[in-house]
């Protein structure tokens, strides 16, 4: 067991988890923004926008994240030579955030749309009757109530996102699952302890998110 604890001097487990948290943070913002735009498209009165929103959700929701991630590395960077920044590692960090955001935006969109379904039709009709057109009605009346009704499903998406940040290993980001592989490669004698360390690490990150969103979804639910 002493040998196991000495491992933490050679391998920076905390830094690796911090990388996952950073990925999750930026991808959560990215996917929330993009997902909201998509949700608005899908409830808009313009048929072509609705079509685009539906197509986006169906394509990205049904494509494995690993494929999106590998495409962004081998396709965007490898073949098309896309470089967001000159810093080598930061570039892959951003490619990983891009992939995570594109993928989870589809789920965020559907979570928000389920929230929109909790808003009674009378709200939209009332908004229209006081002269609001579609965008102001969506922004001022529908979406605020929809978000409050969508907190629990959005929390689920966030939890999935946190765990999916491990896929960023495919984009050469030095995060927890990659470090776990390295540690197991060099220290198979304490493989079980290494595995449990990382499993517990994710539990520690994810459980508070679950508790927080459950609490918030009750606290912020629209009383009807």
């Amino acid at each position: 067991m002493g040998g196991f604890f000495a491992l933490f001097e050679g391998y920076d487990v905390v830094a690796a988890f911090w990388m996952n948290i950073q990925l999750a943070f930026w991808a959560a913002i990215g996917s929330l923004v993009l997902g909201t735009v998509l949700a608005v498209m899908r409830i808009s009165p313009i048929a072509s926008l609705r079509w685009f929103g539906t197509a986006y959700v169906n394509i990205f929701r049904n494509t494995p994240l690993t494929i999106i991630m590998v495409f962004s590395v081998l396709g965007l960077w490898g073949q098309l030579q896309v470089n967001f920044v000159n810093d080598f590692d930061l570039n892959f960090f951003m490619l990983a955030i891009l992939s995570l955001s594109l993928y989870h935006a589809a789920f965020v969109c559907e979570a928000i749309r389920s929230g929109v379904n909790t808003v009674p039709l009378g709200q939209a009709e009332a908004a229209r009757s006081i002269g609001l057109s579609f965008l102001p009605a969506a922004w001022l009346i529908i979406l605020p109530q929809a978000f409050r009704g969508a907190i629990a499903p959005l929390g689920n998406v966030l939890i999935a996102l946190v765990k999916n940040t491990t896929v960023a290993a495919a984009a050469s980001v030095a995060e927890a699952s990659g470090l776990m592989k390295t540690m197991i490669e060099f220290r198979p004698d304490v493989m079980t302890q290494i595995f449990l360390t990382f499993a517990i690490g994710f539990v520690v990150i994810v459980i508070p998110i679950g508790l927080l969103t459950t609490w918030a979804s009750k606290k912020l639910a629209v009383a009807r």
């Binding site: 590998v70 590395v73 081998l74 960077w77 490898g78 073949q79 030579q81 080598f88 590692d89 892959f92 290993a169 495919a170 050469s172 030095a174 990659g178 470090l179 776990m180 592989k181 390295t182 197991i184 490669e185 060099f186 220290r187 198979p188 004698d189 493989m191």
Partner: protein, 280 residues
């Protein structure tokens, strides 16, 4: 009502089919200690390293596979008594400990940490970390030429860690497999791929890659490929004898040459062929 009943029957049938798919692996003798003729032996190899351990259309190939076949033959198992099993790096110790495989030939370097959980026969080959570059690249002749260059290796591999430790100025791209690295090198964004020389040679000798890449031939580590066996196995001496015979009758040399053809590669002949170490 009738529809639900049909659905239930269909579901049960599907479940039965999938279940039976799981139970197919019967008749494997986990011990593999006796060299009887009717038994099978389960051998773990890599499935994704062309030229070393590779599985395509249910047909294993590569240097590891050739050595495994030879050793199994010496132990009294003909080729159709061998059951091949994929053993990715992270699973090798586990499958040996729980008896799922009898021997592992999977570019398995002998290390003290691994010896805590498994035993090794051999080594049957001494590899070294090397670089694979485009065939027309003459600028990179060793790790010291890599500063500022983009180098690709596999996430969590010994090779990746070695470069990260010794060459901090190298831009290290970590990918899920060496095939991805080679793809990125063909795209022009990666300057070199690194891992053990024989794995690189195998990659460069596939039909699709033949003639496009070269192994630099300047190894900077020493990896002793051993035969992984469980700690209570009594086959170590027999395996070592088989390896010695293989080297003596020329099959060893033949296997290396056949599996690295077209890669412009020669193994490190100061260290190879190795003399198997004494069994514990």
């Amino acid at each position: 009502m009738r529809k639900t009943r049909y659905a239930a029957v269909a579901f049960a049938a599907a479940a039965a089919l999938t279940m039976s798919a799981c139970g197919g692996d019967s008749g494997t003798d986990a011990g593999g200690e006796d060299t009887g003729s009717s038994d099978t032996i389960t051998i773990g190899i890599k499935f994704d390293q062309p030229g070393v351990g590779f599985m395509e259309n249910n047909e294993p190939s590569g240097f590891d596979v050739d050595v495994a076949k030879y050793v199994a033959n010496e132990l009294g198992y003909s080729e159709d008594q061998i059951e091949w099993k994929e053993t990715p790096s992270a699973q090798r110790e586990n499958v040996l400990e729980n008896g799922e495989v009898d021997m592992i030939f999977a570019s398995y370097s002998i290390t003290d940490e691994r010896k805590q959980r498994v035993a090794f026969a051999g080594p049957y080959f001494i590899a070294g970390q090397d670089l694979l570059v485009n065939a027309d690249n003459n600028d990179i002749n060793g790790p010291e030429d890599l500063n500022g260059k983009v180098l690709c290796s596999v996430t969590g591999s010994t090779s990746a860690q070695k470069i990260a430790d010794t060459q901090p100025d190298v831009n290290l791209l970590e990918q899920g497999g060496y095939a991805n690295c080679v793809t990125a090198m063909q795209g022009g964004q990666v300057d070199a791929v690194t891992t053990d020389d024989i794995i690189l040679a195998g990659l460069a000798s596939t039909d699709a890659n033949s003639g496009k890449f070269k192994v630099v031939g300047n190894t900077f580590t020493e990896e002793q490929y051993g035969v992984g066996i469980s700690q209570d196995s009594d086959q170590c001496e027999a395996i070592n004898t088989a390896i010695r015979t293989m080297v003596e009758d020329g099959s060893w040399e033949e296997a290396i040459m056949a599996n690295t053809e077209g890669a412009d590669y020669s193994y490190n002949d100061e260290l190879n062929p190795p003399e198997p170490a004494a069994c514990a």
